[in-house]
Amino acid sequence: MINAIKMTTTTSLYDQFIALYREKEKVQDNRWLTSIRDTAFESFSEKGFPTTKMEEWRFTNVAPFLKEDFRLQPGGTSSLLRQNIIPSLDAYEIVLKNGMLNEDVSIPGVKVTPLRTALKNDDLKTYLGKHTPLKKNPFAALNTAFFENGIVIETEKNAIGDKPLHITHVYYAEEAVFIQPRILVIAHRGSKIEIVESVTVIGDKPLFVNSVTECYVAENAQVDQYNLQIAPANAHLVHFNQVVQQGNSLYNNYNYILPDAALVRNNLHLDLNGSNTESHLFGLYLAGNQQLTDIHTTVNHLFPNCFSNELYKGVLLDNSRSVFSGRIYVAQDAQKTNAFQQNNNILLSNKAIVDSKPQLEIFADDVKCSHGSTVGSINKEALFYLHTRGIGEIAARNLMVQAFAFDVTNKIQIPAVREYIEKRIIHKMAEAYD
């Protein structure tokens, strides 16, 4: 009975998108873009929104989150906001309103262009939608069919950024909205850029963000991406991040999820398309209340001599639920691969649930790979030690959670970001036992 209701409502959002695409004016798109969109749309219309019958969505039922009467393609808004939530972060600041950039930004060695403008350039067709596996990812396909707003970040060859680029995503949820921003990062040969993304939500109506980022790291380039997903309970964030690394490049991803966004689903896909690459993936999900967090990562080792290391830590409070699914694929040609993956979780509530699924698929014979996953509670010996110093249950747990998260917070290379995340953890933990 309940299922039937959910079915019809999900279908209705689906129907709206189908209708929207048919009436969409496509004249403004280049021919190559129209063709990408058509393929993506076809794939989405075939699959529809993911259901728990799809292996990749087995634990995450999005249907309940899609039953709102969303406004589908809200434009940017001109209302001003200059609110940096990360104190003392010294960075080039960009504000995207509902995904839209409406001010020009000049950064030494980096070109930041509104997507609409950038799309006039045919060069983008070598990047946009090229690697993202749209067929298997209905949300990414949906974004590709419909995205209007976003930015292109392009570094100059050999340009070494002196400061991080901080993108504040401001979403206006004064009415229920469904927003689909798109970001394309092109780091040319020998360049280096750090990108920090954070979220600010205005308004308390249901907000659904279906974002796609594509990131190209050319030879000898380095990209560090910080994805800080801290948003209020009305936020639902579905994010697909496709990274392509060329030879000798370095890519670091830092992902920190804290309450209260009702849903956070991230797909982080790395294609290692050259030899001697290095990649680090660090993440923390501290899930509270009714939160559902779902991390899916894939690291595709396609060439020899590449190194990848992944560490995700999870802390679950209240009625939260988390999914971690990490896949390492090593192709037959990818000899001398070093690939490591670790996922550790602590459950601080007996109502919280975590599903951790590491997967190794190795077709080369000369490789060093390891993976592991643990679910446990706080070390009793450590707790006892803290108690014998007069530290009570709550304070002891807070210290232990900070300690647990330390392995991933201490990886943050930007001190202001690290301080911000550490403070948020302390704040959340203090709140958790009020």
């Binding site: 108690h387 014998t388 110093r389 007069g390 249950e393 304070a395 210290l399 300690a403 330390f406 392995d407």
Partner: protein
């Protein structure tokens, strides 16, 4: 200050403490010696409330309160401190953050406001000096990568910071080099007053030359089988434990 009567405790269905009687008054230092596995650390564990020990009989009164009824943290807040035989490492918890939390939790229990940052810093410096604890270690993760001796010294540094009424030192001397032993002992001696008391668990008479005990007890097979003054430690050093074990066995038979 501390009165232990017929204390019996077991762990995983194994009776470890078989009736301990001990009276410790303010201003006193008691040494507890005894062969490996006799129950010395277990006594310390039971006094501090380690979870896996089940008290099967007896009572422990600390400053008029039934100690066994209190949670481990409340025992600490009432003034019981254990310097662990094997202090654990807690990566990610900074020593200094940990100490500040401990101090302020104890203060809150006594309805005192958190310590001012300045005062905390002053106290930290003072106590660091007392046990010559390397300032660099204070900012590191709790005991992480500390040498055996550094860990032991950190226990005494914490003791100095928290200023407990009753301190239990479980083999603090083992792992300390000769200089460190002297420094740590001097620190403890400076902390001694007529208001606090120490229970010093050790295997070696040498420590007791520095921290001179008022009483020496021998724990064997879960019981205190012999008590005396500091001369007893010398005698044990010379003769070992065999001469003491005998009467204990007969006693348990009879």
């Amino acid at each position: 200050m501390l009165s232990i009567k017929n204390l019996q405790a077991k762990v995983e269905d194994k009776q470890i403490l078989k009736g301990i009687n001990l009276q410790v008054n303010a201003g006193e230092v008691h040494a507890i010696m005894g062969p490996n596995g006799s129950g010395k650390s277990s006594l310390a564990s039971v006094l501090t409330g380690r979870e896996n020990y089940e008290v099967t009989d007896g009572e422990v009164i600390f400053d008029g309160k039934n100690l066994l009824e209190l949670s481990p943290e409340d025992r600490a807040r009432e003034g019981v401190f254990l310097a662990f035989q094997y202090p654990i490492e807690i990566p990610g918890v900074s020593n200094i953050n940990f100490l500040r939390t401990a101090l302020n939790e104890i203060r809150a229990y006594h309805n005192e406001p958190p310590m001012e940052a300045k005062e905390f810093l002053r106290l930290t410096r003072e106590k660091q000096k007392l046990v010559e604890f390397d300032a660099k270690l204070t900012n590191r993760s709790l005991n992480e990568g500390f040498s055996g001796g550094e860990k032991k010294r950190n226990e005494i540094f914490q003791l100095a910071m928290l200023n407990p009424k009753l301190s239990i030192l479980d083999e603090t001397d083992s792992g300390l080099d000769i200089d460190a032993l002297r420094i740590v002992s001097n620190g403890v001696n400076k902390l001694r007053s007529d208001k606090n008391a120490f229970i010093v668990i050790t295997h070696y008479q040498r420590l007791l030359e520095y921290i001179v005990p008022d009483f020496v007890h021998v724990l064997y097979d879960g019981r205190i089988v012999k008590s005396g003054t500091k001369e007893l430690a010398l005698e044990l050093e010379e003769k070992g434990y065999d001469w003491i074990k005998e009467p204990a066995t007969t006693a348990s038979v009879g």
